[in-house]
Symmetry: C2
Subunit: 357 residues, 2 copies
Amino acid sequence: MTLILSNDDVASVLTITDCMDVLEDAYRDLHAGTAVTRRRSDSLTLTEREDAIYGFKTMDGVIPNQGVAAVRLNSDIVTWPRVDGNLRRVKVPAAPNDRWVGLVLLFSTVNGEPLAIMPDGVVQRTRVGATNGLGVKYMARENAKSIGILGSGWQAVTQLQAACAVRDIEEIKVFSPNQGNRVAFAQEMNDLLDCEVAPVGSVEHCVTDVDIVMCASNSIEAIFFERWIRTGLHVSSIKMPEIEEPALRKADRVGLNYGQRQPDTVRGAGVNPPDRRTGTGWAVHEKFDFESCPKLPEMIAGEAIGRTNDDEITCFVNDMGLGLQFAAAAGVAYRKAKEKGLGNELPTDWFTEDVHP
Amino acid sequence: MTLILSNDDVASVLTITDCMDVLEDAYRDLHAGTAVTRRRSDSLTLTEREDAIYGFKTMDGVIPNQGVAAVRLNSDIVTWPRVDGNLRRVKVPAAPNDRWVGLVLLFSTVNGEPLAIMPDGVVQRTRVGATNGLGVKYMARENAKSIGILGSGWQAVTQLQAACAVRDIEEIKVFSPNQGNRVAFAQEMNDLLDCEVAPVGSVEHCVTDVDIVMCASNSIEAIFFERWIRTGLHVSSIKMPEIEEPALRKADRVGLNYGQRQPDTVRGAGVNPPDRRTGTGWAVHEKFDFESCPKLPEMIAGEAIGRTNDDEITCFVNDMGLGLQFAAAAGVAYRKAKEKGLGNELPTDWFTEDVHP
């Protein structure tokens, strides 16, 4: 049977520590060459709405030691509104019932069969959190005790869970431009995490007197600036533009997830998104030398160093998602969901065939 | 609702003429730049079977004028046996119930929603047939009346249907090394097509005194040779290696489907398939100048010429599949299946989400 899982199913089984464990293994395999990941591709065209474009995004990964392959795909109607002064890339929930469209399809590398189909949302935020958590594990001070987080949205939850899983965090400050959001989020995190979480009214207050700053915004412009850099700080971001280039330059070391220069973009006639240079990929920071940055697979394999002493300033830039991450995270979600009898089972024959394709 | 279609559903609605019509439109859009197609990628790793590799293949296409985007994927266990002296690339039906795994997922470019999921088999052979049919339409003599076809397998059916849809074919000869196969196939085609179809006992007999030769084999070595080239002949192939390089050189003009040099291949450690240089991509014919060959989108748009007179020798090499072709063909299959009430409907909410991915 092929398992159809919902985001709720995935959320009920996929813990951040599971995800970090399976990602570490996958990164070791990637470094060793036994696992592979195919660069994300974006196919962009016009759509009926004149203020939007249609984007079809896919990425693949194969991890034979975990027995899984996956494609993650997004079928998006994308707009670029300006919110609170910052340019944002906003996907419109245009599908029936005001929903978004993102999927992970999971396959077996042993016999090729389709194991599961699931939405990508929970997998996505868990793998983003786990990745930045690995950034904290390999790059932040061992004795880091406090975090300031910029952002209180969907991604911020797993960022904090992951950081707390690898460091003994006692205190967290939350800033978001919207007071209601930051208060509600701080309350939610207080209940979820074993430490003090408090909303703060200014971004300067949030980034002061903390060991780690985590950017977890939807902004495609800088939200963390050079003037906030201090001895021993670790700054983490989930989107390339969040940390401004002068701040990256001031760091002793900038770590990357995997180091992909840019997505493989196929752009139709008339498609000119405003974030062509400011959204994804190294070109966001035109003059920064990402090529020589240590990458997570190298740090995990012990072939690159994330931090040498408590005084160093480190940044971690979660530069681009990998199909490999979705294979690993969806794989563990599938195995645990199957054990628990979650999801809707469909005949595997619906997704296979008796003719040689 | 999202429609789950079977190969039988697709076969019952997707005609070769539908497919050729929709492909011509898609190629015009591709040439104009409004439609896009993302190069096929192959992610290859080891698998448990020592004589096989695991291959995860994906390709995407978006055609906003037809309202569709698609990814076509294959999750394959691949082996390389030698059959009748020729090296073949054989996908093992290793999934439950001895089945293969290939899918097309179709999405709307208007609102992003998942429209349909279907196996790729019937779509694949229909789009391959339609593509070579367009090769015949734009490159074979207008007065071509006879075909010799090499191969009697799954792909051969649509090759003949497509050629007969664009030329007034009266006589077809079929050769395949296996007598039972060629006799059964000739009988089947006699019933299906409005012309005489006869099996022949030698490949030389098959390629002699015909206006068109169609290669429709599973071979990854040459099966059509220079010595068989004659004035006015059109030779068509579904796999890059089928027509040997000296034969291509002897042609006045060689047309390509779209002209992709090679797939975007990510190869894991230890993966050394024997067809590394002989399977797919231009490297099969090391010295041939594919770059300057006319491509179907150019011929359809009237910006390249396929044939100038009845004496020219032309070849058409269906060099690599396109995500665009799957979007077009699956799109028309979906629309017709929906009209007829075919397939299994699943809630679209199963494949969409209420969180921003």
